[in-house]
Amino acid sequence: MSFNVLIVDDSSSMRAVIKKTIRLSGFDVGEYLEAGDGREALELLSNKWVDLVLSDINMPNMNGLEFIAEMKKNELFSSIPVIMVTTEGSEKNIQESIRLGASKYIKKPFLPEDIKKAMHSLVGEEVRDVRGDKESDASGDF
């Protein structure tokens, strides 16, 4: 069973930074999915299983708060944990994201430790894909 992460941010370089940070933390992620805004993210969620979402707030088309609100309304995705990673440090936005269902909030600029700690607390300390087969596993099908 591979562990998939969805990164939502309108800046491709920021998405790359987050991806690298997660990799360096030692989490064995199966697949990284990326979206430039909330709408794209919802589309991806409908097509692929995601174990964890990291999302910015300020994005065009559908911002992070609207995105998380939509996500939590949908039974299929509502239990997937979301970490907000954003420059938006205002108390109001922090409260609002938590109220809408975000599990954690990390302010940019962040240290790799911040992401690692947040992920640890949400998904456990080890994420291992023992079988190494990232494609659908025969014994897991029914």
Binding site: S79, S121, R128, V130
Partner: protein, 162 residues
Amino acid sequence: MEIVVGVGDMKVSNNPEAVIITYALGSCIGVAIYDPFVKVGGVLHYMLPESSLDPGKAGKNPFMFGDTGIPLLFKETYKYGATKNRLKVMVLGGAQILDQGGLFNIGNRNHTILRKMFWKNNVTASFEDVGGVVNRTLKLEVKTGEALLKISGNESRKIPWI
């Protein structure tokens, strides 16, 4: 005739006299499935999410873990003529200690692995009662598919899932 499913256990039956029972699903997850056409029912009671924790133990008892137990539950019912598109699915359990949050939340982890496997295999639960701080007990009557759920602190109630 009672068929008891213990902790880390799975039973399937098409015997019309049978009532499959599983007790005290704390943080464990109980998955009950029933095909009303061929009248086959099955219950899985698993304790932990992923078998990668201890492949040796999973080899000895695949029903201890969600990722190994769930496929086997379904596949066992297929042997009795059940088909995936007809099977009704009920998910119970995954309780947690008060104020548990995300850490060490085995109940939550157990539920998450189930959602993942259901997702991958195109299965949707007809009924779910998951979470909270309660213990749940389930009785499934094979003849009719009738399911009785008892939540600690409350009376038994019939579940509308068929």
